[in-house]
């Protein structure tokens, strides 16, 4: 069987293949290590990390919805110091890239996180999660206001030499505006999408199903929305894109590559089938062989417009 080239370069970040696992859906890797060969993944985007440990939001904080789920976990995590001390040594044993997803409530928190992780052995890139509430600006989200996006990315850019991935929020009118702002600020790579804000109500009890009222929607339900956003942003900016949102199998992943993503991240699907990321990787390789392609790079952004059909 002919080998297809799977290595991808996302700006300064090299990945052995384009399949990543999305932040918050794969823990710190160790949880899956006996079920998934971590050496085969392109990379692991670790759980959102903050400066200090966080306990997260009250229960219930997750509900299943039609072809998806809403979560309001609230960035429960061990904090950056414990991450470096307790979680990173395990991840260093593996070949795959380790991308640390960072989140802060203020510019300073983002700056401190970037500075702390810069040069730490085993950290290959940072992914900025800029859809957290910005307390400085009275509840406006960093990722929603393009000026704040540019500013927070610019500040982090000055504090780290690591490849910088900026994860965009889909909860905006025109995502290309925020994409351009992130690139202006110095993003090497964009990842999209994060979850869509939504809610769920129990008609019988007349209550919201989440203690927090709202949560982030992920899973197959958001795939068409995410795919469109990836395509839009691919038209608007030159930097590489990591596409995600409802990828459940290899075909879904290929669609993101065709839309213009250079790599993909599997999220909620990891909960459904812990081995899905490997199945996605193998499925992309098989697709490329079937299509007579020799390099995964060759299909990125090659989606064509459909031909108008016969008129009825």
């Amino acid at each position: 069987m002919s080998k297809v080239k799977m290595e991808v370069h996302l700006g300064p970040l090299r990945l052995q293949n384009p399949v990543l696992v999305a932040s918050g859906t794969f823990g710190y890797g160790s949880e899956y290590a006996d079920l998934v060969d971590l050496n085969r993944l392109g990379g692991i985007m670790v759980k959102g990390t903050t400066l200090h440990p966080r306990a997260g939001n009250p229960m219930p904080r997750m509900v299943e919805t039609a072809a998806g789920c809403l979560n309001s976990i609230g960035l429960q995590n061990v904090g950056v110091e414990a991450f470096i001390r307790e979680k990173l040594p395990f991840l260093r044993q593996y070949r795959c890239a380790v991308i640390v997803n960072i989140a802060g409530d203020s510019y300073e928190e983002f700056e401190q996180l970037a500075e702390r992780l810069d040069g730490v052995e085993g950290v290959h890139a940072l992914e900025m999660n800029i859809s957290c509430p910005n307390q400085e600006k009275g509840g406006i989200h960093f990722g929603v206001d393009p000026e704040s996006t540019r500013e927070v990315v610019r500040r982090v850019r000055q504090r780290t030499r690591l490849p910088l991935i900026v994860k965009l929020s889909p909860n905006v009118t025109d995502i290309t505006v925020n994409a351009r702002a992130a690139v202006d600020g110095g993003a090497d790579v964009l990842s999209l999408v994060n979850t869509f804000v939504g809610t769920a109500i129990d008609a019988k009890t007349r209550r919201f199903k989440l203690a927090n009222i709202t949560g982030g929607l992920s899973g197959p339900a958001i795939k068409p929305l995410a795919l469109y956003m990836v395509w839009q942003v691919a038209q608007a900016v030159k930097v590489p894109i990591i596409g995600m949102g409802g990828i459940m199998n290899a075909t879904d992943a290929v669609e993101f590559l065709l839309a213009g993503a250079s790599a993909v991240a599997v999220g909620t699907a990891n909960y459904v089938n812990p081995r899905v990321s490997i199945e996605v990787l193998e499925g992309i390789e098989q697709y490329l062989r079937e299509q007579g392609e020799t390099d995964v790079k060759h299909i990125v952004g090659t989606v064509k417009r459909c031909k108008p059909g016969n008129e009825f």
Binding site: G24, T25, F26, G27, E31, Y32, D34, L35, A55, G56, M59, P60, R61, M62, V63, E64, A66, A67, G68, C69, N71, I73, Q76, G219, P220, A221, M248, T268, N270, Y271, V272, N273, P274, R275
Partner: protein
Amino acid sequence: MRCAEHCEVVANRPVATNQFEIEIHCPTVALHAQPGQFVQMRVQSGYEPLFSRPFSVFRRFPDRGNFSVVYLARGTFTRMLAGKKPGETVFVVGPLGNRFSVRQPANEMLHVLVAGGVGAPPLYLLAEEMVQLGIPRHRIVVVNGARRQDLLVCQEHFAELGVHLWAVTEDGSLGERGKVTDVLKSLYQRGELPHDRCQVYACGPTAMLEAVAQFAQKHALPCQVSMETLMPCGLGVCLGCAVKVRTAEGADYKRACVDGPIFDATEVVWG
């Protein structure tokens, strides 16, 4: 050792009203599952429902490489599961979670297993292990409760083990009338639950667990409870299964799927 694989259904038979025992060929779970542990199962290929569902391991047949669970067909997934025929497959991840811990010195202890409805299966596995460990059968007390006789599960299995068995139904259709805690109370009043040599293990609906935990606390009986929460991943990753607990530093969340499902009853913040 745990697995994530498609496994063959060996049998799927009714055991009580709307309740079934499904036997599955899965050597990893058959060999390694401990009392209180569970598996995540998935039968659907589409996205409705999206997530797998957790089920406690009921019986293990290591020589055949099979295990079984007892389930109540109550919603989308469990109704689909009820439709599974021998020869078809289910996707199984497991065994998962921690286990009931049997405190030593085991022989001098009285082990009180309190089951509510489909909470009984993991307690059967525990009772079976206790018998195999050589704990005298009269020191294993099982209080098996349900709303009605036709909803009571595992009764004959407990009976076959020869343990000290109480049936309790809310309508009195079998055994004592009332709730499991009523039986606990009367045992206590008769001096049959010595607080210094007694260990309570409970599995069932959350309201029952809370009542049992309160009873245990009031009488200073050590008590382990198996917590039921929604478990999207079962692997400790999504944090959707969090249980509020007391720690030395104040309230915190633990994950029912990996830090549990078995918790010390005094650790859990109820309500």
